[in-house]
Amino acid sequence: MDADKHFVVGVFNDEDVLLDGIRKVRSGGVKIQEVYSPFPVHGIDDALGYKKSRLPIAAFLFGMTGTGLALLMQFWMLGYDWPMIIGGKNFASLPPFIPVTFELTVLLAALGMVGTFLIVSDMKPYKWPRQFDIRSTQDMHVMAIDLAANAGKSKEELKRLLNESGAVEVNEKSFE
């Protein structure tokens, strides 16, 4: 059996049942591939044992890059490359440079973080996702269990476990 191709799919219609179901399935020693939901379910990351996202760190680093580049640009342009006398003020001083520095900090933090998000989540316009059940974007929560990753369990065992965990429907799905 090829890895990542044959799945047992449980369909849930309520987020609270789903959360209990996830805990039950995982305590049965089954590895869940992923759970697909139409909306973010509160507490699902804990139930699935996911670690906190590190995107905030990426955003902070991008933001700091923006701050640094903005200050460097302004001090270099007006302080070093071509100093200009404007209203008898200093060639380069920090206070009037704050607005542009702030804006570039925000700009780089936002774009950098969103770019990182798209890359780590492998999202791109020309990609067609692997759909276990198209109702997962409508009104159902869909739990996919990879058969190859749970070699110790039989298909029937997994199906029974999903039924016991509150799935309203249990299907099989294979991809080429």
């Binding site: 973010p40 995107l55 342009m77 607005p99 804006e103 974007t137």
Partner: protein, 456 residues
């Protein structure tokens, strides 16, 4: 299974289920546009075409076709610029600041409000661009690009340059925030198209949704992205109108040179923005039959924000008058005396009536829960806010330090034409958005259905 709070009004009425949400919102994208939509589109495009002609003449002939003169060098262009930027602010306030405050009533109105923000900022940007005269050279004047003057860089001490950075950052971040919110909803439409067997629509909306799948891990990252974008947008939106107000406040023109401007402008921006959101949403909810999602409760809450910000604006007007007397500066005093009783007194008193007096009517529950009254007052507020900018700009300029140069400002058809052009663009863009994009954030509304939907 539905749990209803006993203390709060339901946010979604009519006993909707999660499935109904997908259906009610997506069907407008899937069905052919209605006759009403085509009629509205025809009017918008007519405005756009006539306005486009005026903009064409403006670019061909130069800024001289406007009614500006030596004394009044800024008039309708900057008035319209500030007006449109201000309108945009409500979208960010709803989507970012209310997200940080965990206000769930924002969820059914944030999508349309953010779309309004983006289109309003584009409209705003056309005015400074047109005022540059030679649009095609604008890049060299506004951005720090190497140039043939050796390189003579842009002036980072100037609030006008801060504006360039503030507005372009604001536009970009708002666009990204809006689009990130749209991604899961595009996937909803894609999967409905798959079920309906419409291959073309499925492919288009899949591309728009970046192949969204909605896995728990992606949702987790997605929520963290949304929260940080909200955190970034909040100071950003405050900075944008602060910087816009500094275009005036850092000058030495009486009536402009005041420290009250940043908070006063930000409050005014939110005030006018909410009025525009109400104008648009009252029409959208009617045309698309979204009464169960955008309820009277939502409208009432927005009207309460209008009372708060309208009162802040009112206090700012009175403070300005008081300070101009209290400062005992002759020029400052005259600038305000001239505003109140001078040749532009009609504009001043229109502003006072529309912005300070009329929103106070919302203290009556009957008025703030009435659709007709809200619609009328939302338009009055926007007229008032336009006059506010006109009063600040033109009355301070038209009688300057030298009485021999005193004059009046008279707009030409080209001034009017460019304003009409932005209206044409704004409504065309909004109508296209309402037709092809989901107008309500389905994913967010679905997440609150269980706790805040009305029990049948």
């Amino acid at each position: 299974m539905q749990v209803t709070s006993v203390v709060r009004d339901p946010l979604v009425t009519g006993g909707k289920t999660i499935k109904d949400v997908s259906h009610d919102i997506s069907r407008h994208v899937e069905n052919k546009p209605t006759k009403l939509w085509w009629m509205a589109m025809a009017v918008s495009i007519a405005l756009l075409l006539w306005g486009g002609y005026c903009v064409g003449v403006l670019l061909w002939e130069g800024v001289g076709v406007w009614g500006l003169n030596k004394t009044v060098g800024w008039a309708w262009d900057i008035t319209n610029f500030v007006w449109w930027v201000g309108i945009g602010h409500a979208g960010t306030l709803i989507s970012a600041i209310l997200l940080l405050f965990r206000q769930r009533w924002r969820m059914s109105i944030n999508r349309a409000a953010e779309a309004m923000t983006i289109f309003a900022v584009i409209c705003a940007a056309t005015f400074p661009l047109a005022h540059m005269g030679r649009l095609w050279l604008g890049f060299y004047w506004a951005l720090p690009l190497p140039n043939t003057f050796g390189s003579l860089w842009v002036n980072f001490n100037s609030p006008l340059l801060w504006d360039v950075f503030a507005i372009s950052t604001y536009f970009t971040v708002s666009l990204v925030f809006w689009y990130i919110g749209l991604i899961p909803d595009f996937a909803v439409i894609r999967d409905r198209a798959v079920a309906q067997g419409n291959k073309i629509r499925a492919a288009v909306y899949n591309a728009l949704s970046f192949g969204w799948q909605g896995g728990a891990k992606t949702w987790m990252r997605y929520e963290s992205v949304a929260l940080i974008l909200a955190g970034l947008s909040t100071p950003l939106v405050l900075s944008v109108h602060t910087i816009v107000s500094m275009d005036f406040a850092t000058s030495v023109i009486p009536g402009w040179h005041t420290t009250i401007f940043p908070p006063y402008f930000v409050a005014g921006a939110i005030f006018s923005g909410f009025a525009m959101v109400l104008t648009l949403l009252l029409i959208t909810r009617k045309v698309f039959k979204l009464e169960d999602y955008i309820t009277i409760y939502h409208i009432e809450l927005m009207n309460i924000i209008i009372i708060v910000t309208g009162s802040i604006v009112g206090i700012a007007y009175i403070t300005e008058l008081f300070i101009s007397w209290y400062s005992q500066v002759e020029y400052e005093g005259y600038a305000f005396y001239n505003r109140v009783v001078g040749p532009y007194a009609w504009a001043y008193w229109s502003m006072m009536t529309c912005n300070v007096i009329s929103p106070q009517l919302f203290w009556f529950k009957k008025i703030r829960t009435s659709l007709v009254a809200t619609f009328v007052l939302s338009i009055i507020v926007n007229i008032g806010m336009w006059f506010e900018r006109f009063v600040i700009i033109v009355t301070s300029l038209h009688r300057d330090y030298i009485p021999s140069s005193w004059t009046m400002f008279y707009p030409t058809w080209y001034d009017v034409g460019e304003y009409v052009f932005t209206f044409g663009f704004f409504f065309t863009a909004f109508l296209l958005f309402a037709k092809f994009f989901p107008v309500i954030n389905m994913a967010e509304v679905k997440s609150i259905i269980k706790s805040t939907s009305e029990k049948q």
